[in-house]
Homo-oligomer: 234 residues x 2
DNA sequence: CCGGAAGTCAAACGTTCGTTTCAATCATAC
DNA sequence: GTATGATTGAAACGAACGTTTGACTTCCGG
């Protein structure tokens, strides 16, 4: 099954897509660097788009399996109780970082690619990509809501978004050395820093939703709300 | 100066770049939709790359001017004292959202484009883009460090990264309606939610850096470091 | 009315793209 | 050894790309 050629193509494509982006990477770039024939991509994968899909499948399947596995453990442990926010976040954020250690440089490359795909919004690639992600997002959002029952569902959704944004940025920026940016760190440290930031952000008191007719103070949004002084119509 | 044609090209290009990404948008797409001749892009802007640069210039110049202006106000106000974290964050995050109200649909489009460019890492576009951003990042990072003097510089840098990630994601995701995602919200609400999340995250206690010889507990990273076990800022 | 700059237009330029074709090669079972 | 299916190879396909060209309008100061 896993022929030598096929794997070499996947490895090189992963790196080039991560470095230059999907549309900016040509099959000729890939096949030249992998030292295989141009036609072999279409032979083994059918089309460029399917190559991307195969590439995502290879990494995402075990990654998301691991995430859900950790979440399962948490849910078994707490039963009907409230899971701890930090535990849920750790189950979500740790696997990509573990992965990079297990898979070495190519795991790191993949993380950069993922960070990129979050913004690479050709709707077709996005569908390819999101298919892998949807169940994970749904289950973690719901676990997070159980951990933070005083928040409204829409707030949990948004914080999940912000979390994903931080994660994506940490992956693409934190793992690509850049002049002027923070020095690249040990992945474990990045994970700790991210968890720390994310846990505080996700568990923040809910934003005060001042009713529109209440004369808005100069700077709303930071009045601690906890549970909605005024239930926001919605 | 600002000819009819030139503006139409800029407007359409902004939208298409935001929708499909820069490399995936052809000049023929742009000129067809703008109902101008294909050659006029090269006539007015020289090349596709310069079109992107002009497009960024048009929006970023006033946007970042506004950010720095708000930051200046804060720094004048507090003098040698500590600025408030929320104020600094607001100065950073509010202008893009204000902009979208002032510029209407095309402001919103631009925000999507910006969110995208954060990941669009062809090094040349990135240079084009980062040039507009570098001073802002530097000054806000330093203001943030003054607001949170107990944090190490490297932690502040990283949290600035996470913040930018949340912002980028909020822009590209929060403003593009997606099935299954959170319902699109009023921009003011997004800003409030983002500020709330970001303020808590940025001001979180610094991650515990356990010395390597200390037998690491099973789950490090949430031991509250620094000061006050529960004094989460506010 | 005219001359010339500014802008538009259709057409073509040379490249590069993803994909296809088909003969050559390889491995394996008979 | 030879037939057979899987893989590789070199070459070409048509389409799309960014850019350039040169003739054609449009406009305006003299």
């Amino acid at each position: 099954m896993a022929s030598e050629t096929k794997d070499r193509i996947l490895d090189v494509a992963e790196r080039l897509f991560a470095d230059r982006g999907y549309p900016a990477t040509s099959l000729r770039d890939i096949t030249a660097e992998a030292a295989v024939n141009l036609a072999s991509v279409n032979y083994h994968f059918g089309a460029k788009e399917s190559l991307l899909a195969a590439l995502l499948e290879r990494r995402f399947a075990p990654l998301n399996r691991r995430r859900l596995e950790l979440l399962d453990e948490i849910e078994v442990e707490v039963g009907a109780g409230r899971p701890a926010v930090e535990e849920v976040l750790r189950a979500f954020l740790a696997p990509p970082f573990e992965m990079q250690q297990k898979w070495g440089a190519s795991g790191r490359t993949f993380l950069r690619l993922v960070g990129r795909l979050h913004a690479e919004t050709n709707d077709e690639h996005r569908a390819t990509y999101l298919r892998h992600f949807e169940e994970v997002r749904r289950r973690f959002t719901s676990a997070l809501h159980r951990a933070l029952p005083h928040l409204e569902a829409t707030d949990v959704h948004w914080r999940m978004m912000f979390l994903m944004g931080s994660m994506a940025f940490a992956m693409v920026e934190g793992l690509t050395p850049r002049p002027g940016g923070p020095p690249p760190r040990d992945p474990d440290e990045v994970l700790d820093a991210l968890l720390c930031f994310a846990a505080a952000g996700v568990a923040a008191p809910s934003p005060a939703r001042v009713p529109i007719d209440a004369g808005r103070p100069d700077r709303p949004g930071f009045v601690v709300g906890e549970e909605a002084p005024a239930a926001r119509g919605r």
